[in-house]
């Protein structure tokens, strides 16, 4: 039988998501445990990603597991022309779990089909990054004490942002209402609107980053508007300063509002927001450790006590 893997946020149903959140809460109370003692985890980063790699390495180290792997392809056998399948088969002989990031889309799904040990997708091109979604959802649950019936406003690059697309899928089990705020060129793609319609999820679209969209929301999820995403640079110049959150825009926001961002942040959240107790993005990044500890233990069938 194939081992369980986490490739796509779709691999988790509602119960799976709630189980991971429950375990992540336990790890947040006590992240230092000996649960991975004697285990070796492979971190195969065919494409560099400092933030995600450090988060996984911290998650494993705090559970006393060991890590082997590489942080870019320059030091991997892929530069010698080895196929992904061969690399996975080789590494799976040595380790108990493989965490992989790869620039090719679908690579993690393929790896999970050939690997005899669990695979965690830490990003496959612009396709999926499910542990990012799990830490986002964990942060939403933690700050709102529920996932049911929340209003989530997502701002910025809704066209290419992989974190955004997976977040919509992951939250779809919990009757959310979405506000999609994006410039014309970076609007949410049709297929995600069709997805929301099929699931009877309410959503509104805005091209203005207005106070209206901020004031009636529980979660404000900010993303980067990147210059290289625009075909028309005039358009970028027009919108680059519009999708910036400033502290005074939060005056009439809900008490329970929390601001999230998958990071790295550039200019889209001004520095003065950092002092506002509603800013939660650094804590959200910290939650990545607990969410990843929960996913790793779940895939390895390790029980986590409170």
């Amino acid at each position: 039988m194939k081992p369980k893997s986490l490739v796509n946020i779709d691999d988790y149903d509602k119960d799976d998501i709630m189980r991971i959140i429950d375990t992540a809460c336990k790890f947040k109370k006590n992240p230092n445990r000996q649960l991975l003692k004697g285990k070796v985890c492979a971190a195969l980063f065919f494409e560099p990603s400092t933030r995600t790699r450090l988060s996984f390495e911290t998650a494993i180290s705090r559970l006393e597991g060991r890590i082997v792997g590489f942080s870019d392809t320059a030091t991997s056998s892929a530069t010698k022309g080895e196929s992904l399948k061969d690399t996975i088969m080789m590494v799976s002989n040595y380790t108990d779990l493989i965490i992989m990031r790869h620039h090719l889309e679908g690579s993690a799904r393929y790896a999970s089909e050939v690997s005899p040990i669990p695979i965690i997708n830490a990003g496959d091109g612009s396709n999926q990054h499910p542990t990012q979604t799990m830490l986002d959802i964990f942060s939403i649950y933690e700050t709102q004490k529920t996932l049911q019936n929340l209003t989530i406003t997502i701002v910025g690059d809704l066209k290419y942002g992989r974190a955004v697309h997976s977040l919509i899928e992951g939250l779809s089990h919990f009757e959310p209402t979405f506000n999609f705020v994006a410039p014309e060129e970076l609007k949410i793609p049709e297929k995600h609107k069709v997805f929301c319609d099929k699931k009877s999820i309410k959503y509104r679209e805005f091209t203005e980053f207005s106070l209206e969209s901020i004031n009636d929301t529980d979660i404000l999820y900010m993303t980067r508007v990147q210059r290289e995403r625009f075909t028309d640079l005039m358009e970028y110049e027009k919108v680059k300063n519009i999708y910036i959150l400033k502290n005074d825009m939060l005056k009439n926001s809900r008490d329970n509002l929390k601001i999230l961002h998958p990071l790295p942040r550039v200019k889209e959240i001004s520095q003065d927001v950092d002092e506002n107790p509603k800013a939660y993005y650094f804590e959200q990044a910290r939650n990545g450790i607990y969410a990843r500890q929960a996913v790793i233990c779940d895939l390895l069938g390790i029980e986590v006590n409170s």
Partner: protein, 153 residues
């Protein structure tokens, strides 16, 4: 146009009729007819009242498996199959798209793992009427008009 046969009659085998003219050679490739030693008659740009022009393929002494023949629904979903024995049509069939298409369509995403690794492609057919495929690996959707067959097919 009279009733005369546009392509020679078949004693035994499969006749594939009503192939859109521009899809004929794709059908040839999908069925790997180039690898067969059977006698094959291919006609194209033949007159058709319904279609304007059409293609016909007749293959002697060849009876395809369902999976094999259903592939051509990807490019020519409305073809008619006539199974012929002893100069008589003994069965008329239509093709239907399978739920999963393995190894015959190329993924249009250059960053898809299937275009970079020695492996078979795999698509889920998410709309049989409109012929929309979704790559099992990179998840992009491909519409009928954008379908490209894998090399050598």
């Amino acid at each position: 146009m009279g009733k005369e046969l546009q392509v020679a009659a078949l004693e035994s085998g499969t006749a594939i009729d009503h192939i859109p003219s521009d899809q004929l050679f794709k059908v040839v490739g999908l069925l790997r007819l180039q690898d067969l030693k059977n006698r094959i008659t291919i006609g194209n740009n033949l007159g058709s009242r319904k279609m304007g022009t059409k293609g016909i393929i007749k293959i002697s002494d060849k009876f395809f498996e369902e999976d094999e023949i259903n592939r051509i629904a990807l490019v020519a979903p409305k073809v008619k199959l006539n199974i012929i024995k002893n100069y008589e049509v003994v069965e008329k069939k239509r093709v239907t798209l399978p739920n999963i298409v393995i190894g015959i369509v190329k993924c249009n995403n250059p960053k898809c793992i299937t275009n970079n690794e020695p492996m078979k492609t795999r698509f889920d057919v998410i709309d049989k009427d409109k012929v929309i495929l979704q790559c099992h690996y990179c998840e992009i959707k491909i519409n009928k008009e954008d379908i490209i067959l894998s090399k050598g097919k």
